[in-house]
């Protein structure tokens, strides 16, 4: 079954076609890689999935339901969350508060319950705290619990963004260059973590990454974008041997050799 489906999606900004007539499917429980040079339209695809941009043409399906007309928060509540290329944490809040805030959708109590501090409020609030604590542990952030997000090291901030996204119990997680700014060692650890997260939470992942070799290791399927057009998709092997990709993307690197 496909968890996500793009059908002839186009996004234009004025005269610029950021994404042109792109179709692809992400299989449930898989890790799907999205690669391409700068300005290829990768982040734009994430913004289209999460409803931040409205598509110009085409259709997007999530679990076989159209989602391209929904507002961002509705899409998130359906089970798609993401991280941002240029980290967007709640900067002045602590690690714990960042995660706890994101857990909100696991509770249903209303404002009146909160003002009366009744049974419903206390019970659900306790669950939220337990969930935040658990996520902090899984992502290895427990020792950073009370540190203000903007004071965390870069790598930790990226982890915190993942933790925050997982707080919604998503079934599809979108990671926009999660390894940017990390050294090779950290990056390998991160890739391991991504695999673990997939197992532990039973979700599907789409990951954007610049480092080709990294993405080849973790992804079940990869799509290559170039100037907003789909160049190719398939397994890591297919991509590496695809002449079009070699020409447009890997070709440059070969010249250096």
């Amino acid at each position: 079954m496909n968890i996500l489906e793009f059908k002839n999606v186009t996004k234009t900004f004025g005269g610029l076609t950021a994404v042109g007539n792109v179709s692809f499917e992400v299989e449930k429980d898989s890790i799907f890689g999205l690669i391409g040079p700068n300005g290829a339209g990768k982040t734009t695809i994430f913004n289209l999935i999460t409803g931040i941009y409205k598509i110009s043409q085409g259709e997007i399906y999530f679990k076989e339901d159209p989602i391209h007309d929904l507002q961002p928060h509705k899409i998130a509540q359906r089970g798609i969350t993401r991280t941002f290329q240029n980290i967007r944490l709640f900067k002045k809040l602590t690690t714990y508060e960042n995660i706890l805030t994101a857990c909100h959708d696991n509770a249903t109590y209303g404002i009146v319950n909160a003002l009366l501090r009744d049974h419903k409020f206390k019970g659900q609030e306790k669950k939220l705290h337990e969930k935040a604590q658990e996520l902090m542990g899984i992502l290895g952030l427990s020792s950073q619990k009370n540190i203000i997000a903007s004071n965390l090291p870069y790598g930790m901030q990226r982890r915190l963004e993942i933790a925050r996204a997982l707080a919604l119990n998503p079934s599809l997680l979108l990671l926009d260059e999660p390894a940017a700014g990390m050294n090779p060692d950290e990056t390998i650890k991160l890739m391991e973590l991504i695999k673990e997260i997939r197992e532990h939470f039973g979700l599907s992942i789409v990951v954007i990454e610049h480092h080709m070799d990294l993405i080849m290791g973790v992804c079940d399927k990869i799509m290559v974008l170039n100037f907003g057009q789909k160049l190719a998709d398939g397994t890591a092997q297919d991509i590496q041997t695809n002449p079009k990709v070699r020409e447009a993307y890997l070709g440059e690197e070969e010249e250096h050799c």
Binding site: T81, K92, H104, A114, L115, L128, R164, A165, L168
Partner: protein, 296 residues
Amino acid sequence: MNWFYIKGILILSGINLLAVLGLSLLTGFTGLFSFGHAGFMAIGAYTTAVMTIHFHLPFMVALGVGGLAAALASLIIGKLTLNLKGDYFCIATLGLGEAIRLILDNVQYFGGARGWPGIPLHTSLLNVFIIDVVGIVFLAFLIRSRHGRNMIAIREEELASQIIGIDVFKYKMKSLMISALYAGVAGGLYGHYLGFLQPKMFQIIKSTELTIIVIFGGLGSISGSALGAVILTALPEALRSFDKWRLVVYGAAVIFIMISRPQGLMGGYEITPTNIKCFLFRFVKKDKKHQGMGGR
């Protein structure tokens, strides 16, 4: 200084405190600036007066009606403007505040621009104090719930809030309505303290004063807002003997705080029993360290 005079200042501080608490939720915790809160106070003040004078409702019930009327007005203005990005909301509230005042100026039923005398003096130090305490407790409870956390998230990073499933529009609306409710009740108390209402009392200067107090006290701090309201209401009164210079001193005090503590008096911190303990503990520790170093 006699007790009557001091009591008057305390009541005025208490009324301002309530309006500031409401604005604190909107500006300090949700990140939306409003320059029309005097308008919501005016709606509350006039509605409450109509309820006690013409409908003979008990004061507390009338205050509730006044607060709800202000919240209702905020619902309408919110529906129209909260979808707009950035500063438009702020500008819209500015227009709203002035519009309400101009309408009241021309409605002869409420005495028009000349004012409305003979409002019963129901406001006392006791009922202001009780309402303030309830207002503070409710706000603190709200902030420490998922609803309050969602509002803070919107203040911090609106886009990320949407991505974690927060309905930004709905939460801005909730924040605005609760905020207007507080302002409306404060307006009702104000009219029944002075015994007289005039649209001029709810000019843009009043809105600005409330915003200054919230910033002075520190954005995102309930205790800061409360402290700021009391200090900045009492200060001009305490300085009455300086005559013309008092407003200069007031302005200088505000500027001084803004320069020396740009984050405001409390700067996002709260006065809670645990925080006081932590603070004192740190103080004691520092002291001991000092002694040790001196001994050497």
